[in-house]
């Protein structure tokens, strides 16, 4: 599922601190709600990747790659 454009993914990849902005984008797009945003902020990146896979926003393969390569891989997966 494409959550953002490739241009947006590139902007995220260049950010020094991306996590809050990514959660806000996912909330604005209706992929996570306020409660989920709060929970993911507390619990970190791995839980975010797991949640996106569970919601079928990203594939299992995307999830594995995101955990291996980090957020850059995740944001480009979200732009596919």
């Amino acid at each position: 599922m494409a959550v953002m454009t490739k241009q947006q993914a590139k902007q995220f990849a260049e950010m020094d601190d991306f996590f809050l902005d990514l959660l806000n984008l996912l909330k604005d797009k209706g992929i996570i709600d306020n409660q989920e945003r709060k929970v993911l902020l507390l619990t970190g990146f791995e839980k975010l990747v797991q949640a996106l896979e569970k919601k079928k926003v990203i594939s299992h393969q995307d999830s594995k790659e995101a955990m291996a390569k980090g957020f850059t891989s995740l944001v480009y997966a979200l732009a596919d």
Binding site: D16, L20, K38, L42, G44, G70, L74
Partner: protein
Amino acid sequence: MYGWAGQRLRIDLSKGDIIKEPLSLEYRRKWIGGRGFNSDIIYNEVSPDMDPFDPKARVCFGVGPLNGTAAPSTGRVTVTCKSPLTGGFGDSSMGGHWGAEVKYAGYDQIIVQGRAKKPVYIWIDDDKVEIRDAANIWGKFPRDADTMIKQELKDEDIHIMLIGPAGENLVRFACTFNDVWRAAGRTGHGAVIGSKNLKGIATRGSGSVKIARPKEFFEICNRLRQAFKNDPMKMGLYEYGSLCLINIANRDGWLPWKNLQYGGTPLANNMSGETHAKTVLKHREGCYACPICCGRFTSIKDGRWAGEEFGGPEYEHAVPTGPRVGIIEDANDIWHNARLTNDLGMDGIETGGVISVAMEWYQRGLITAKDTGGLELEWGDEKVVDQLIQDIAYRRGFGDILAEGGDRASDKLGLGDKGHYYTITTRGMTLPGDDPRGLGFGYGLSFAVGTRGGCDHLRSLCCLELSGALYPGLNTKILGDERPAKPVTTVGKPYMVYYEENQKTVTDCLNVCCFTTHWCYTVLTQDQLDYFNACTGMDMSIEEFLEVGERVYNLERAYWARQMSGAREDVVPERFTKEPMPQHVDYQTNVGATLPINEMLPKYYKYRDYEPGTGFPSERKLKQLGLDYVAEDIRPLRKRYMSESEQKKKKYYY
């Protein structure tokens, strides 16, 4: 009742009242224990305008649901009060075995209030609690008082919390010990205890801690203990104690030399853990249930201090009265100074910090021998340092001024802004022996915003940037990015600090040692939650667990807000922002670095949901955390903080 004892002990030394108060399940779930219980009491019972030495002021000793169990390193105690050093929220944590003993005696927390008419100590023997005469131990070093109380009570197995002479003399950075050598060093609660004419609390507990799901609990504990055998940080800490950091700090330019004018010294190896182990280490020691055993016991064999023995030192104990004051050639001087601050009962960081700032005032001509009672405050002069440590503890001469802490001393000497420039403090408390221009920008950010002022290695530290690189993939797992593991960068640091502060706070609520979790990353947050749930029989989710940390952290921040301390006080000493790190060691890695604190603060505020103008927790955040009454308290203060008159005030302490 599983995990918790289910009650707190409140002792009023003015009235002689001894009261046991039950702790409801709802209350325990909201605050967990230790730091959480204590912060709640201090917020609600010690008003912002109360003098820390007022008899009505409280000092709290909190333990957690895991204290006294087999979970790794669960012997810690949180000590909390209104700090006489900063005038704001103050807490500190100590290891040892006293925490477990308090639990076995049947208490989750001890609150002391009031003031005894004459020196006393408290004797807790399970249900039986007595206030006893302490005339014969007043003035004694903790090591001697410990022996005398054990002889008096005819019990060698009791565990005792004690203060030293500095606490009795109201030195604003006096500290507390248990088992003689395990210190809760920071924020000056030893002086608050001394102001109550209380020498210590001796404890004997014959009870136990009930475990809700024992099979599951012991499987988790055994798994974690096995995992520790291969932990890379554990190996260094066991072999060399926290002094294992000396050579690393020197290489990366965060070892303070001469009040942090430099980040290292070519002779640092003289005091490294490796050298200590070869020369003066008598044996290693561990706190309750600890798989690491980072504690040292030192025996000086030669030179003028030959024959001196003591428990310690740690990195943060040895550095302040060593390289920070220019002493490095003879490491025995450093071990001696550490022994002396222990025996006298003072925070080593603050003691070395205030002596080193006085030396820099002297170096720069802000003070002369006329101000110091004739002492020439030359860097590296052990004779001067030895005398000043004792003069501070007994409040003699120039030492009486330094006993007030760096920022108050600067004002007493009339040094103005120049004097404060050289006090390496945040909110009135001296930063530890870690220069953030080398240790890491995350640490720098956490020093600026920490809820007890300048913090050290057991508070809002960012070990993801110190030891994260030793655990491949860890930064990605938590932060989604490996780049934040590099210390001298702002990348990922706002989220790192937010995450680690919550994690550390909940660890302090459990009263588990940070060295076993998020220093050695063998125990992660999920592991902590698993043994907490198995121990207590609760079914807490990971988010509820971490939200307790966020709740406690925001309550502490709100305490400062009530004292008109917020965004304008979220600063670091100007030395870090204005003075590029000079080169002092050939192989130093951080030459030229300054700390770009203002690049990180706005994003950090967004993570925390602090208001940009005031830096106070937003009303939305406080209500989300179930702190509606705190939101009510803070609401009228927001406008006041932004008023012209408040903005003109320079606040170095409260």
